[in-house]
């Protein structure tokens, strides 16, 4: 084979390998892109975990929103985790408080981290929490229990068609993976 065509082949080969390389990078770049995309659009119920201040807004007494609370324990998390009420009726704009309860029934000291999710995803933009245990982690000694308040209000701009907002919390064991889960969020 002539060196001319060999050079030509090498150049096309390099370009093709370049595409392969770029697509490999893209495959891994999908991970952060996916998270950013979900947070911005509120798709997937991913909530931006941040504290908001209660702004004195007018309470819209004419509207009633059903708020459902769901608690879940992730596999391998030896805690009890529940809410005192599963369902409540609220008016947009009023500040509500609900209590959550967690107890460590294992023989180790364990740190827990609750990860919130909201359905419908759209509602996550109108749900403001002034206080939530999901903002930080809880460390419980064996047998210790804790009552955790969560305060929230629903923005009166919540779209008309939303009548029910479901807040779900999944409690994860953050003892060994503490640094990682922070990085991944």
């Amino acid at each position: 084979m002539k060196p001319m065509s060999e050079n030509k082949n090498t150049s096309v080969l390099k370009k093709a390998l370049g595409i392969v390389g770029l697509m490999t990078v893209f495959a891994f770049a999908m991970v952060p892109l996916y998270n950013v995309f979900c947070e911005i659009t509120g798709i997937n119920g991913k909530v931006i975990v941040s504290e908001s201040l209660y702004q004195q807004v007018e309470v819209d007494k004419s509207r009633t929103i059903t708020v459902e609370l769901i608690t879940n324990i992730n596999r391998g998390m030896p805690w009890e985790f529940k809410t005192t009420v599963n369902k409540l009726e609220v008016h947009p704009g009023e500040l509500n408080e609900v209590m959550f309860f967690a107890r460590n029934f294992s023989k180790q000291t364990i740190t827990g981290q609750a990860v919130p999710s909201v359905a419908p995803g759209q509602a996550s933009f109108y749900l403001n929490k002034t206080e939530c245990f999901c903002f930080d982690q809880q460390t419980l000694k064996p047998g210790e229990s804790i009552d955790m308040p969560m305060r929230f209000y629903i923005d009166p701009d919540l779209p008309e068609h939303v009548h029910t907002v479901t807040m779900s919390y999944v409690l994860f064991n953050a003892t060994s993976k503490e640094s990682e889960s922070v990085a991944a969020n």
Partner: protein, 522 residues
Amino acid sequence: MAHDHHPTGIKRWLFTTNHKDIGTMYLWFSFIMFLIGGLLALGIRLELFQPGLQFWDPNFFNSLTTLHGLIMVFGAVMPAFVGLANWLVPMQIGAPDMALPRMNNFSFWILPFAFTLLLLSLVPQLFPDGPPNFGWTFYAPLSTKYGPASTDFFIFGVHLMGISSIMGAINVIVTVINMRAPGMTLMKMPMFVWTWLITAFLLIMVMPVLAGAVTMMLTDRHFGTSFFDAAGGGDPVMFQHIFWFFGHPEVYIMILPAFGIASHIIPTFSRKPLFGYASMVYATASIAFLSFIVWAHHMFTVGMPVAGELYFMIATMIIAVPTGVKIFNWVATMWKGSITFETPMLFALAFVVLFTLGGVSGVMLAMTPVDKQYHDTYFVVAHFHYVLFPGAIFGTIAAVYYWLPKWTGNMYNEFWGKIHFWWSIIAVNITFFPMHFSGLAGMQRRVPDYNMMFEGFNQLSSIGAFMLGFGQLIFLWILIDCIKGGKGKATDRVWEGAEGLEFTHLPSPAPYHSFEKAPEVK
């Protein structure tokens, strides 16, 4: 030919850099995988002949469906197309060989190792918890947290298959771009070369994504990362997005070369040039482009906003337009042609008709509201088997019959070829047509047991599957018979209406070294 010297025995095959030898090895390899994958499918159909559990425990049934899918996709269909590309692309563009012959050898010889890794999982002494059992889509966390030990062998197997496909695809790209005979402009290239060039671009773009996905699985399983583990801040739904970003272009990788094959065979036996060559090229390119932006239609039931559902539904349906253009062109090619029905033409016609049927059920599945009923039912199984068996595999079989006389110099047995065709087309419909009905009635896929009411449909499917599977032994016999001499010498042109450099410029059989001097293309 005088200079047909090459090493003989095992060394010829181990060290060969000849595109024809490598093509032959790819084709035989894929045929063996086709039989193994078929045996696994018969295992599935055996269990589903009756409701209740008869033969396998449910976990092994899941392994059967998983291995059947993986072996057919990565072991049978993809290597078959790479084998055809090796044989045909250099001859069709007037090149002496593939551009990177040593890489060509390497990309083939990786495959037996890849599939050994995968099939080792069937040895219970090595893997007491069984072969991969999470379906060919290996969704996390089934394949990460809950995957059996053999999952790691599966991961490395997929890595090797990916490397092999990428090298094969790069070879096609370099060959087609650099080694066309003088005068063969891009828009004069035969359709098979065009469809393969586009397929090769799809391959180098999505195989790295698949490699990324299985790498993330591997690190999730063993190195403490949490890409797909919600407990560590990851997301299992993200796995599905990454997988289908690979997976949807992958289904076009498995069909585009078959489009190219039909575009050769139908004009030949209609004795008319292909209708709408340019529109065929553009339709293929648009299908390839669209395949990248529709992936989430596999995930409607996972949940997404209405806007997303609408977008993915409409984008998916748009694919029917370029596909329709192609089908229209094939039909228009036949219009007023003087058609004869040799075996390759029969398979190509069955391809057009039955692929269209699979395409139509695909448009049905694209509709979000009805997909919520169809999802993960046998309707989906019917759909993708109609595009894969009478689509990709009939396409490959048609190609083999069509070019076999050129490869071996002998005519195959036409009588048995027709028997093979009629047997296959009857069996393929008995097997897969009833699945439309059982699926619409609610029978779920990947479950070893089913409600009594589906028994009739499943017995039909099972009978058809056994007919279809054993019918392929006729094909094996025809191949061996043809290689040994068949029905006598083939002419150089082979078929009356055959066009293309391999028929007009080369003798039958094609010499070991062809087009050492490039032909002039007008």
